[in-house]
């Protein structure tokens, strides 16, 4: 049967070369456009995953200042959880910050000066970064000299090594801000320095190096439950809901159009297949079963769809290479397989549902 179907397909393509090309072209265009839209939505998804970090961020507030430090130590040494790449603790005036430069290259943007070096963070040096709103209260003279004179925190002199944009009046800051912001106050010092100086943190926020699995989230939840006085708590999410919604938003407006385009391609294929129906009718008269006819039609479609899909994938691969950065992102291979299965099922169903009744109707008429 497979051999017959394959030979039929080749002969059929050879006899109706123009229609074969037309069907093939329509399918390549439809698949290519579908894949490109998917790649575009996938790029938005990856951007959202990177910026939202929903599956990696832990945030809580706690009025027991010692609890935060001991929890940090626990999380740091926990073998079940991934490493923490960014850790922020803060009170009303100061932020303690740790940033693992080995795991995340991007550090806090400092328009003047520099971010803490790894050595400064590890050894707990007396260095500080200042938010831009800190400077608004300084005199012209102090603005120029603060980089050499430094600032005092609880009677200890700190060197000021850089600034960062921070223009949020205290009364306008909401809880949501602390949940998302890496720096939360106008003065930022290394995390180790923060703990060494006995400052009293009220908030804890950390970003793990990898998304947490449900087991890890449960484990994390258990650790936190052992601590009293934890108030607002936001655990890492089990999936990037916002990113997934952005992906769906990116494809939904086009899916209907792409499906309609696939349908119009199918109408060409059907028109083309009609030329083969005479042969199928002869097979039916000679005793072929309905399912065998469906099989022959399906093989025709499967071969056509596969050839068109492979060509579309190659075209999209080339297109992705020349597309400007920041527009599309290559899909994981699993997506290509899923899309292939999806379009194959859709095309097979659509063609068979339309074609089989026509073949049988004409056979009945001839009878």
């Amino acid at each position: 049967m497979i051999r017959l179907a394959y030979k039929n397909f080749l002969r059929f393509c050879h006899v109706n070369m123009l229609f074969f090309f037309l069907s093939f072209l329509c399918l390549v265009c439809a698949f290519g456009c579908f894949l490109f839209i998917q790649e575009r939505a996938y790029y938005m998804y990856t951007v959202n995953v990177e910026s939202n970090q929903d599956t990696r961020v832990l945030y809580f507030t706690c009025n027991d200042t010692n609890a935060i430090q001991s929890l940090y130590a626990k999380l740091e040494n926990d073998s079940v959880l991934p490493k923490m790449t960014i850790v922020t603790v803060s009170d009303e005036n100061y932020t303690g910050l740790y940033w693992d430069g080995k795991l995340i290259k991007e550090v806090l943007y400092t328009p003047y000066g520099r971010f803490f070096s790894t050595e400064e963070m590890d050894s707990g040096d007396v260095v500080a970064l200042l938010g831009t709103d800190y400077f608004t209260n300084l005199s012209q003279e102090n603005l120029d000299t603060i980089w050499t004179t430094g600032i005092d925190i609880n009677g200890t002199h700190f060197n000021v090594i850089g600034n960062y944009f921070f223009d949020f009046p205290k009364d306008s800051i909401t809880e949501n801000f602390y949940e998302f912001a890496v720096v939360q106050t106008t003065i930022t010092i290394p995390l180790r320095t923060y703990f060494d100086f006995g400052l009293a943190p009220e908030r804890f926020r950390c970003v793990f190096s990898q998304p947490l699995t449900s087991t890890q989230i449960t484990h994390l939840s258990d650790i936190l439950q052992s601590v009293d006085n934890i108030q607002s708590l936001s655990l890492p999410k089990s999936f990037e809901a916002n990113a997934v919604y952005s992906y769906i938003d990116g494809i939904i407006p086009y899916i209907a159009v792409l499906l309609l385009s696939l349908l119009s391609s199918i109408s060409v294929i059907l028109y083309w297949l009609r030329k083969e129906f005479a042969r199928y009718r002869i097979y039916l008269i000679c005793g072929a079963k309905g399912r065998q006819i469906a099989f022959l039609i399906s093989v025709n479609i499967a071969l056509l769809v596969t050839a068109a899909y492979v060509c579309a994938c190659l075209a999209i691969f080339e297109l992705t290479q020349i597309t400007p950065h920041g527009l599309v992102s290559a899909l994981p291979w699993q997506f290509y397989i899923l899309i292939y299965i999806g379009v194959m099922i859709f095309t097979l169903l659509a063609v068979n549902i339309r074609a089989i009744p026509i073949v049988f109707r004409e056979k009945m008429l001839q009878k």
Binding site: C29, A30, C33, I37, Y109, P111, Y112, L143, V257, V268
Partner: protein, 393 residues
Amino acid sequence: MASVLIAIKLLWKRKLANFVLVIQILLSIIMLAQVFVAIEDYRDNLRAVNELPVNNTVVLSIFDYYDTEYVTQQVLSSPQVESVGRVYMGDIVFCNNVSCNLAAYNEGIISRYSPELQSGSWLSDYSSFSGNAIPAVVSSDMKLKVGDVTDVSLSDGQTRKITVIGILKEPTQYLYPWGSASPEYFTASSVISQKPVIIVRYTDFGETSVFETPMDVPITTSIFIFLKSDAADTNMDTFRTEWNKYGEITPMQSLVSTFNTNTNTMIGGTTIMFVVFLLLAATGVLSNNVIQSLRNRRQFTVYYLLGMDWKKGAAVEVCRVGILVIFTMALSLIAGKLGLLMLEWMTPARAFLFYGLVFLYIVVMFTAVGAGFMIKLMREDLSGLLKDLQQGE
């Protein structure tokens, strides 16, 4: 009339396919609008970008906690600096019943920057202000002529008299640093404006509060530092070390290259999306027209046997395409009204040009395949058509 009715009947028979086709073309028109706006935006800025003083120039976006005059003096004290340019920008002013920007350039800008003029002369040709009216260069959309003297109503309630000495070339483009960003993202389009404008020499304007920044709104002021020619070889890090505490430093060349990169990304991205939807639309048009034409062949053969002239068949085909074109054009007009075609980003003249392009696009899309089949239909051998009608017998 009969031809039109037959055409409508033919369209109705394949209503779903035709609906899909029109929607696909409409989507590609939406993408076309984005390409059009991106290209027009690029053209709007291009001339001004090329006119910007680029050589030996750096932009310093001053932190809002620093006093601009103080920083300017500090920068000027450097031996490598030739001059410092600054644009004083006020609130919207009214002149000749037009709301417009007021830009006061200092000497540094006037001597290094001269935008292309439609008529008249640039501010540098008038060394100083003498008389009652301040020499001003205005944009052509102010509807003023060289030599006109008119009043400008300032935001503080005062008025100033200006005399027009030059008119900017159309479309309006001029240096107006309204925005800033970190060096990686700072682009030339942030220092250019296309709004109606009155440009004056700052010293001619005299003391006024209209250029003062409101205390409650932190606005980053950018100054242009023109370096001496022998400082061109100096490493940028030297300047960064010296002035970075006052603000963010970006070489002017970087603003232009960021602008070019952003523009290429925007135009490239929108063009690719347009091509994707154009392909979808072309697929729909091709498949629909091929099937429609093959069906028409059969139908028209029957009509021919019943005594209808071939030309009548061609007329029906023309009507069918014409109805599709009119229907799609009407839908694109509705889409424009619904805000899907970015018409708010276009001037009336550009919107008119865009719809002209859309009409051409629709006509080409619908007739490209249809015309070929119509010619074939006119030259077809009747026996071949009859054979096709009888499915080979």
